[in-house]
């Protein structure tokens, strides 16, 4: 097998993408790991998602659903995370299922998985075993606490993931919340960044594998990934001993202010941005005090200044303030609601939302990718797979099982 040769598959869109020809196998559910492989799929890789027979990915049971009516083929969360993938069912806990899994591993460049390390060990699906079948395999394992250490098999749902990282402890940051519990980031928001981090290092490993012919095991701990996202504060803590807590953060004048139809954030670092803000609120007399142009002094007098800024903002709309902030060079922006985002002319012009047509859930606009590449255009080429939708394509056309085998495997609960 040549390590440098990459075949280009036939794509619907005639342009090859960054990862065209790369084959990914996904043995994962929920959010972080499926998001990692969706990012790879969006970049052109072929992703085969493996789900438990009959049951499927846990997110199939979680909303949003059209009209609020649960249906395993209509979960908005599942569709968001699994569009652009092929889907098969396979019980890797059965002997036959495992044999089929190993056949799929032989044909893959990358395996993305999120199972507890002890389960993979018990199933005999360790990296060393898989490597012996496919020396070029990159196995990206994404788990709450990584592959080693005393917590390696601990369980974590999205709320636990975020709080494991240290960031939850000082969220939210405003003084008046000091006595209340730490809160989660968004609803599931902490899971997605882990997928980005894992997809990044997987791409690096792919280049390494193409150059050397050697695959590898990548161990991504969600806790460490999110701790790293705290690099600024954790470095200050490690080097200066500053322990951030809820309510004692230094954000003062730079904060979220209520306005006529919601909230806006004002943030600044530079004197000219502060002056732009004063201009937006009508150049009040108090703003002429030269000392306030110094950010440190202004922040020290936050208690006095915040109500003055608030007064200049509270009767104006998010859109008005945002427009004026942009014109004058000040970071004054709305706290967007999901409705604001879905209706945004800016995002529309940038094609941030892309349409997928799902056979059961219908046409939907979904968030595309966290970047756009001029030579690897974004597109939803496939709808999210129905449970086991590509069993025939993969097992019969690709692995050579017969149609009769397919029936037997289904009856035995293997697929």
């Amino acid at each position: 097998m040549s390590s440098n040769k990459v075949s280009m598959p036939n794509l619907k869109s005639n342009q090859a993408k960054a990862l065209s020809g790369v084959k990914v196998l996904e043995l994962a559910e929920w959010i972080a790991a499926p998001y990692c492989s969706r990012l790879l799929a969006d970049l052109g890789a072929e992703v085969i998602k493996i789900e438990k027979p009959g049951q499927g990915d846990e997110t199939r049971n979680r909303g949003p659903f059209p009209g609020g009516v649960p249906h395993p083929e209509k979960s908005g969360l599942f569709i968001y995370l699994n569009t652009n993938k092929l889907g098969v069912t396979l019980d890797v806990k059965t002997a036959t299922g495992q044999k089929i899994f190993l056949d799929l591993v032989r044909q893959a460049d990358i395996l993305v998985e999120d199972n507890p390390p002890r389960l993979m060990k018990r199933l005999g699906l360790t990296f060393n075993k898989l490597k012996s079948l496919n020396p070029r395999l990159i196995m990206t394992s994404i788990t709450p606490f990584g592959q080693t250490g005393p917590y390696k098999d601990y369980k974590a749902y999205p709320v636990n993931t975020f709080h494991s990282s240290g960031e939850g402890y000082f969220t939210p940051s405003r003084t008046e919340f000091a006595g209340r519990p730490p809160v989660n980031l968004g609803k599931n928001a902490a899971e997605y960044p882990v997928g980005i981090i894992a997809a990044g290092i997987t791409n690096i490993a792919l280049r390494h594998a193409r150059k050397t012919g050697a695959g590898e095991h990548i161990d991504v701990s969600k806790q460490e990934a999110l701790l790293f996202l705290n690099l600024a504060h954790f470095s200050t803590y490690l080097n200066k001993g500053v322990l951030p807590k809820r309510g004692d953060r230094g954000y003062n004048i730079t904060r979220i202010y209520p306005c006529k139809d919601g909230h806006v954030l004002f943030y600044y670092h530079q004197k000219r941005e502060w002056q732009a803000m004063l201009d937006i609120i009508g150049n009040p007399d108090w703003g002429k005090e030269e000392a306030l142009a110094n950010q440190t002094i202004a922040e020290e007098r936050a208690a006095e200044v915040i109500p003055l800024i608030s007064a200049g903002i509270k009767n104006r709309t998010k859109a008005e303030l945002f427009k004026e902030g942009r014109a004058k060079g000040c970071s004054l922006v709305p706290c967007s609601t999901v409705a604001d985002l879905m209706r945004s002319e800016h995002l529309k012009e940038r094609k941030f939302f892309a349409e997928t047509e799902h056979p059961d859930a219908g046409k939907l606009r979904l968030a595309s990718a966290p970047y756009s590449l001029s030579q690897s255009p974004f597109g939803f080429d496939r709808a999210a797979p129905r449970l086991g939708e590509h069993n025939r394509e993969i097992y019969v056309n690709r692995l050579g099982y017969s149609s009769r085998d397919l029936v037997t495997l289904r009856q035995a609960g293997v697929i």
Binding site: P64, G76, G146, G149, Y151, Y154, K155, P158, V159, N160, H163, G166, Y169, T171, P172, R180, P181, P182, V183, N184, G186, K187, N188, G200, I201, N203, R207, K211, D219, S221, L227, F228, L231, A232, T236, L238, K240, V242, K245, R246, G250, I256, L265, E273, Q295, F322, R326, S331, V333, C335, V338, A339, H346, F352, A367, Y371, S372, S374, Q375, S376
Partner: protein, 401 residues
Amino acid sequence: MYALDGIRVLDLSRGWAGPLCASLLGSMGAEVIKVESSTEMDFGRLITQGTKMGKLASVNQNPIFNVMNVNKSSITINLDKGSDLIRELITRCDIVVENFVPGHAEAFGLSYEQVSRLNPKTIMVSFTCSGQSGPEANTRGYAPTFAALGGLSEMTGYPDGPPSQITPWADIISAFAAFLATAAAINQRDITGQGQHIDCAGREIMSCFIGDSLVNYAMNGTVESRCGNRDDVMAPCNCYPCKGDDEWVSLAVADDAEWKALCRVMKRPDWTKDAKFSGQLSRWQNQDEMDKLIATWTVKYTPAEIMKMLQKAGVAAVPSFNFDDLACDAHILERDASEVIDHPEMGPYFRLNLPWKTSATKTVPTRRAPLLGEHTGHILKEVLGKSEAEIAELTSQGVLK
């Protein structure tokens, strides 16, 4: 060998997201040249706001700058006078990372169109708040701006409280998104020989993280908002007070089996039979009452004790760790999460290791962040082949400030 051997990166960016992206490429083996200027300082060298770290003794002593800029060299070039020199450097580079306000780079001959004419193999990573196109492309933004505009602030906080300002977190994950896109573009270039333009918008990265809530609007017109620690389906799902001052544990239960396990550990088997809590839906409907009851148990133990007891029983319980907890946590220590780097002005300083462990791809031994302009002469000689006389000329023209 390193995965990015043979790749040279020109880092024209400032602040945190762009510079960290370049540093990550450096850690995987790329040679990174950071272009900065003493006349318009990278504000990443100056930021202390919100950290309570006090005043810095010099621009070389910012611990945040020094962790975000490892594995790169620094050359000082005054952009107004030295754009030709920067363009000359671009002809010797594979990747350019920049975060100019859209349109600003053109005046200096540094837009993607201009750069790709110089070197069509160049991969340019442009990082901004709102992206390179669209009516709001001129947004000025920092990390909290991305999170507010992208919808994450509106989704974070107590249901009865205002949206939350999100920390530097938004910058750091943006660096990883740009790093991912760059790595993919390098893989593509290895095959096609072509460069490309990567357009990274901080606010759009944030919007991807609330993608499931956006689908709810697309499907049903539902506007989801802040829900504290709670979940649409799971209950319990919250942070509970523990023994000690401001100590909390996060706890989530996905099904009846986990609820039974939790009740067994709490020694309250009766709660599995109580109609109010016996099924997932009834628990969810009665969670205010249930949360109060659970808190009467959690408050008797430390978060670490609860994690140990409940994880053993198969229940997802994880402390809301603070930095003191993490710095001396047995798991983190065993995972070898940080390293010490020596710095001539700061002395030894701590840095977190990269958030992955790889069995074949190697990370370069960490080189401390550069002092301002530390490698100016070296880069001019080694990369551009300038003579002493040419360097003296550039210096006298004020190009190298």
